[in-house]
Every structure is written in structure tokens, then in C-alpha cells.
């Protein structure tokens, strides 16, 4: 699993790569939480373009990050969610609380209110 972070105004852009399962979810959660607090951002955008697999461990990880952005009055958005991952998003209802975008540019523009 690899995680890359980039700050864009009030949004922390997180690019995940590899598998999201019970083995990696805790490390991802801890990493994002640490960077988010340090960044003083209020929104998180997670880019799934390089994610090869996600099971329901990813749902818990995402709900946790959603709650963190909520504390700061921000939002959590997802980018490049594949058809396979979207099945988990829909089944768990994640798609109702997390807006999904085709690419990071669109997500960042939406969060800036453009």
C-alpha cells in the first residue's frame, strides 16, 4: 500500500495505491488522520485510481475519515472509483455520504464551490 498526500487550499488530496483490506486499512486510516490534522485542511479527497482491491474494511476506514471532515465542517469526496469498488460503495450506502468524481480536478473544483 502506498499513500501520497498533496494539499490544495482547504483540501487534502490523498492518492491511495494497492489493496485496501483489514491488513492495510488501519495504516491508511492512521496515515490520513495524521496528515489531515497536520494540514489544517477541512476537506479530504481520496483518489482511488491506483487501488487494485477494496473489501468492507475500506468502508469502515472511509466512514472514519468522513466523521473527521464533519468535525471541521468539511466533506470527504472520492475520485476514480472503479465499477468494482462502486459496488461496495453502493451496497454500504457510502455513495450517499461521499460524493464521487471522475478525477481530482473536478472534485477540487466542486469543493471550492466552482
Amino acid at each position: 500500500m502506498n499513500i501520497k498526500y498533496k494539499k490544495d487550499g482547504a483540501t487534502l488530496l490523498v492518492r491511495l495505491g494497492g489493496d485496501i483490506d483489514h491488513h492495510t486499512a488501519q495504516e491508511i486510516s492512521d496515515g490520513i488522520t495524521r496528515s489531515f490534522r497536520r494540514s489544517r485542511c477541512k476537506n479530504i479527497v481520496i483518489d482511488f485510481a491506483d487501488v487494485s482491491f477494496m473489501d468492507s474494511s475500506g468502508v469502515g476506514m472511509l466512514i472514519g475519515r468522513y466523521k473527521e471532515t464533519e468535525i471541521f465542517g468539511g466533506s470527504l469526496a472520492a475520485v476514480a472509483v472503479s465499477g468494482e469498488l462502486m459496488k461496495i460503495f453502493t451496497l454500504s450506502g457510502l455513495n450517499k455520504i461521499i460524493d464521487c468524481y471522475d478525477n481530482a480536478r473536478l472534485a477540487l473544483a466542486a469543493l471550492r464551490g466552482e
Binding site: 489493496d19 483490506d21 483489514h22 491488513h23 486499512a25 482491491f53 468502508v59 466512514i63 468494482e84 461496495i88
Partner: protein
């Protein structure tokens, strides 16, 4: 022609990826669709995660996985000899979790049921749990 395999591995979280790789490699010669492969890998990942987190609760143990593939259907069994499930009907409900302290969604059985054609759970307190799943491959 029927094909089958049986493996046993330590209840360590790093073996979740190992179990997914095993089932993928086993199914690959049958040329399943990307969708079928992904669904089956996800269901296996959920069942193995259940055995590791709930069956053994972080303690040492072994997870057994066996699979059989006949003409068009894959049969998978994942079992542990851990603590067993108190109330199977409750455990199968969406969002049910015995670990609210962790970031667990309680969606494991819901995902297995959505992604496989049949899911059967047999569990005995103190003896362990066996999850049996089948999925027809349409290729």
C-alpha cells in the same frame, strides 16, 4: 473435469491478500470475467478477515480454505477453530459488529451475500465457524 485445492494458513492479516491470490490463481484457467473474479476475491477476503478478527480475535490459529470447481460453479469453504459466533442471524445483519471500538463497518456478511450466489454459515461456540459459498461462473 473437477478441480480442487485445500490450504491452511496462519490467522495473520497479511494472509488475507495471500488467500485472495490463491483463489484468483485457482480460477484463472477457467477464464472468469473481471467482475466474477473481483466478486469472489472480495467474498473470500471478507470470510478470511472474519476468521482472523472474530474467530481468533488476534490470537494464534489456523484458517482453512478449500475450493472446488466443477463445470461452471465454484464452491468455497473457509473455516476456523476459533470462538464461534453467538448469534448467526444477528451477525449476518448489515452493520452488525461486535467491535464498535474498531473502524469495522459490519458489512462482511452483507458483501459475501451480495457477491456470491449462496452463503451458508455453520458455527459452534468454542468450536469455530465454517463459511460455505458458491458462485456460478458464466465467463
Amino acid at each position: 473435469m473437477e478441480n480442487k485445492f485445500s490450504i491452511s494458513f496462519s490467522a495473520l492479516s497479511e494472509n488475507e491478500a495471500f488467500a485472495r491470490m490463491c483463489i484468483s490463481a485457482f480460477l484463472l484457467p477457467r477464464d472468469p470475467t473481471v467482475n466474477e473474479m473481483s466478486d469472489i476475491k472480495t467474498a473470500v477476503s471478507e470470510a478470511v478477515t472474519n476468521a482472523i478478527i472474530h474467530g481468533y480475535n488476534g490470537k494464534e490459529g489456523m484458517v482453512d480454505m478449500r475450493a472446488r470447481l466443477d463445470e461452471d460453479t465454484v464452491y468455497i469453504e473457509i473455516s476456523d477453530t476459533g470462538v464461534g459466533i453467538d448469534d448467526i442471524a444477528a451477525a449476518r445483519k448489515p452493520l452488525f459488529t461486535t467491535r464498535p471500538d474498531c473502524e469495522r463497518s459490519g458489512m462482511g456478511f452483507t458483501v459475501m451475500e451480495a457477491f456470491m450466489d449462496e452463503v451458508d454459515v455453520v458455527s459452534e461456540k468454542g468450536r469455530g465457524t465454517k463459511i460455505s459459498m458458491t458462485r456460478k461462473l458464466r465467463g
